[in-house]
């Protein structure tokens, strides 16, 4: 396995980490999860930096990563403290609870209440009276009842 293949592997890993982090950051509204996703993006970048450093035989990448780690540590402390304060004041971790920086005449974004999931009357397949109802697994009953 040559150097270039090694690099490719790590870069792919870094890109995957970054991409997962990005999707997490965009898709989730829990502030702690968003924070974790952001950390994950950082780590993805760090991995590619180290890989490039290894590839070019240069300490620059590693050095940068040390800095990133340091900054990430500080950032984590501050971010967690902020999240804690926000949680204390609103009792929620939902980032959408904090919309106060919008323009004054804009309507706030309100979650549309999802309609109560209609739990249909469980309809079981008609079976021949001759048959005996099979044993249902508990898991199927709890999570996928409506399927």
């Amino acid at each position: 396995m040559g150097e270039i293949d090694l690099l490719h592997g790590y870069l792919i890993l870094g890109a995957l980490l970054f991409g997962i982090g990005l999707v997490g950051f965009l898709a989730r509204r829990n502030m702690i999860v968003m924070f974790l996703a952001a950390e994950m993006m950082l780590q993805g970048i760090s991995v590619s930096l180290v890989a490039w450093g290894r590839f070019h035989n240069d300490w620059g990448g590693q050095m940068m990563v040390i800095f990133i780690l340091t900054v990430a540590a500080c950032e984590a402390a501050i971010a967690l403290a902020l999240i804690l304060m926000l949680f204390h004041s609103s009792g929620r971790l939902d980032v959408a609870a904090w919309q106060h920086l919008r323009e004054s005449n804009q309507q706030p974004f309100v979650d549309q209440e999802l309609p109560e999931a209609q739990v249909d009357e469980q309809t079981w397949p008609e079976l021949a009276p001759a048959g005996i109802e099979p044993e249902h697994s508990l898991d199927e009953l709890v999570h996928r009842g409506h399927v």
Partner: protein, 725 residues
């Protein structure tokens, strides 16, 4: 007694002291000096007056030396040494005594930039400097000569007394310090105006005097009438100042310099002959006459008319009564209205070169004197009577200057000198009455105050006698001299001056009539005290009556003492502008006494006094004929014409003010609709665009994150797509 440096020090200190007191009171008056604000100002004024006296003494000393020198040496020798004397060397020159001291250069523009007189008329400039382009250099230059020395003494003397008087008059004013700051600035401007030795400095301080008068007339700015009067004074003066500015431009184009004095030759720089300098005075043909000269002189006259309140620009002076009375006294006697007379006297050589302009000066003066006197006889406001009498007396001064002879010019200046004393006296006495009557000065509402205010009454008597020209009071000597000089020109065959002579004699009669009308109505008859007076109705404090007494003394003696053997005229004749061949040629041959005229004018004045006494002191029944005549339609019209000041204000209102207001309204409408509309469109655009973008700022963090990511993607995409190289 003095070396050159000492006279220079005097010349600098005389204006510097009022300037220093202005700055001190302006800086400390409000919080530190407060009701002691007058102290630095009075100290500075008195100091300036003492220094002015020293300067006068020194200049006089030199005129004596010059006379001795002129007798001892032949004229040709003196002429040769004159140009070599230089600007700041001690000059005992052929043409009068002058001392010039340059402090610093204010502006120096090379001839490449200052396209001066390219087409200099070769007759306009001395042969050694003809045809060359001059550098435009404006120096801060002070001068001392007899004219300046006399003006400085008058200004500082009257100012000192007025300031002392103002301590009593203004004692409970909340803006005490502001008053003294402005007054001090006023005096500083005037001392610089008469000390300036080039037209630019003259113009600068001409304006500074206007600004100070604006500030002082509008001193009580809570009163709308005071604000309006200040604005009117300033705007009417603008018209005159415009004329002066044009005159200065014309002088620069014609003569290539704005200095009064000669600039001696230096390295690479040839000598420049000043407008009123020795070089030019020794060859009077160098003064430009004809159309250009006439234009210069008429523009100068316009400027002087504005500042000295001559017809048709006299309308601001009576309204300027809205200021505190000490301001009126200062303005009428010393610091403001005399500026025009001074400037015309200073520019005598220019006026000698165009006789029509000189006649214009005389006509303006003579007409204004008569015109203002006709208005003054019916005014009911004592201060307004005095204001019109000032205009009238200034008309006399202009008439004297317009006569254009040694006798006429020196008589005009002498009238300025004596008038300063008795007009300051009359105004301060009127102010004393006003102070006692709680601000009421309307003669229909007050009267018979002679027992209440004996000191004010007898000082007013002195002023009134001097103003009427009764022997031996000051006004007699100067007014008589002006009338006599006009009469002489008339005798010499000029019809115009004969008319002016009779007009001025009639004006003298009117002067006595209106002055004593004011005196009798205010101080005699049944005692009437305005209800506004309150507890104030008593004689003014001695800080106010002492200056009155001093001025009364001067009003009695100034004429007789200074006219002794023509001393004033002889001294004034040493001013360079007056000490050259054209003027000297007009000197009367041999001693000439005007005994007959003196008797005549005294008789005229006394008959005016007598008529006033007959009309206003005597039995009402005795004058019934007159009152019935005045009630007839024709008499009533005449009366209204005079009482309405010949409706000059109304004429200006309808011919100038209203059309301008209309024009202003049109432009205002255009501005509000067109210009403001454009601006509003420009101002309205950003909010509209902003409103379009505003929904983006929804405050939802995940949305921001998404937009940020998309933006980054766009940037990265652009980076790849961008054509490199």
């Amino acid at each position: 007694m003095f070396e050159g440096d000492k006279i220079h020090l005097l010349m600098v200190l005389i204006p510097a002291l009022p300037l220093a007191s202005t700055l001190i009171v302006a800086a400390l008056g409000k919080f530190v000096l407060r009701e002691r604000s007058h102290l630095p100002v009075i100290a500075a004024m008195a100091g300036s007056f003492v220094l002015s006296l020293l300067l006068l003494y020194e200049v006089h000393h030199r005129t004596l030396a010059a006379e001795a020198g002129a007798n001892a040496t032949t004229e040709s020798a003196a002429t040769e040494t004159a140009p070599a004397g230089g600007a700041s060397a001690i000059t005992v020159a052929r043409h009068g005594v002058e001392e010039v001291y340059t402090l610093w250069t204010w502006a120096a523009i090379d001839r490449e930039y200052a396209r001066g007189p390219e087409n200099v008329d070769s007759t306009a400039a001395p042969t050694d400097v003809a045809g060359q382009e001059f550098n435009f250099i404006v120096d801060v230059t002070l001068r001392a000569d007899p004219l300046t020395a006399i003006m400085l003494c008058v200004v500082t003397f009257v100012s000192t007394l007025v300031m002392i008087y103002a301590v009593g008059y203004m004692h409970d004013d909340p803006s005490y310090w502001r008053f003294f700051t402005y007054m001090s600035l006023f005096v500083f401007s005037m001392t610089m105006l008469v000390s300036a030795s080039n037209f630019v400095m003259l113009y600068v301080f001409w304006e500074a005097v206007g600004v100070s008068s604006y500030l002082l007339v509008g001193f009580w700015f809570e009163k709308p009438s005071a604000v309006a009067a200040g604005k009117k004074a300033f705007l009417v003066n603008r018209v005159g100042d415009f004329g002066l500015a044009i005159a200065i431009f014309l002088i620069w184009v014609t003569y290539g310099t704005l200095n009064f004095h000669d600039t001696p030759a230096a390295d690479n720089v040839p000598a420049v002959a000043g407008i009123l300098g020795q070089l030019r005075l020794s060859t009077p043909e160098l003064y430009v006459g004809g159309a250009v000269g006439l234009a210069i002189c008429l523009c100068l006259l316009t400027g002087a008319c504005g500042k000295s309140a001559q017809f048709p620009l006299h309308v601001w002076l009576p309204d300027a009564m809205e200021g505190p009375t000490p301001v009126s006294a200062l303005m009428h006697a010393a610091t403001m209205v005399t500026a025009g007379v001074y400037m015309i006297a200073r520019c005598t050589p220019l006026f000698m070169a165009s006789p029509q302009a000189q006649e214009a000066v005389a006509v303006v003066g003579g007409f204004t004197a008569l015109f203002a006197a006709l208005i003054a006889i019916t005014q009911t406001d004592l201060k307004r009577v005095l204001a019109y009498s000032t205009i009238s007396q200034l008309g006399y001064m202009f008439l004297g200057l317009g006569v254009g002879t040694v006798a006429g010019i020196s008589a005009g200046m002498f009238h300025l000198f004596t008038h300063a004393f008795f007009k300051a006296l009359l105004f301060l006495a009127a102010g004393s009455v006003m102070h006692a009557m709680g601000g009421v000065i309307d003669m229909r509402r007050i009267g018979g105050l002679r027992h209440l205010m004996p000191k004010t009454c007898w000082t007013f008597w002195f002023g009134a006698l001097a103003l009427s020209g009764v022997f031996p009071f000051a006004g007699f000597w100067s007014k008589d001299a002006i009338i006599a000089s006009a009469g002489e020109r008339g005798d010499a065959g000029s019809m115009l001056y004969t008319v002016l002579f009779w007009a001025s004699l009639f004006t003298a009669f009117l002067t006595a009539l209106y002055t004593f009308r004011g005196l009798f109505l205010t101080f005699y008859g049944r005692q009437r005290i305005a209800p506004e007076a309150g507890h104030h109705a008593h004689e003014s404090p001695s800080v106010m009556t002492l200056p009155l007494a001093i001025l009364a003394f001067c009003a009695l003696l100034a004429g007789a003492v200074f006219d002794w053997h023509g001393m004033f005229a002889k001294f004034l004749g040493h001013t360079p502008s007056l000490a050259y061949s054209l003027v000297e040629a007009t000197a009367p041959h041999g001693e000439h006494s005007h005994l007959g005229l003196a008797v005549l004018s005294t008789f005229v004045a006394l008959s005016g006094v007598g008529l006033a006494a007959y009309l206003y002191l005597g039995d009402r029944k005795a004058v019934e004929g007159l009152t019935t005549w005045l009630s007839s339609p024709f008499g009533l019209k005449l009366y209204q014409l005079s009482y309405g000041k010949f409706f000059i204000d109304e004429i200006y209102q309808w011919t100038i003010v209203r059309p301008l207001l209309l024009l202003g309204n049109v432009f205002s409408w255009l501005d509000r609709t067109l210009v403001d509309g454009l601006v509003n469109v420009a101002g309205g655009l950003p909010p509209r665009v902003g409103a379009l973008l505003r929904p983006l700022q929804m405050g939802l963090v995940p949305f921001y994150a998404l937009v940020m990511m998309l933006g980054t993607l766009v940037l990265i995409g652009a980076l790849f797509m961008w054509p490199t190289g």
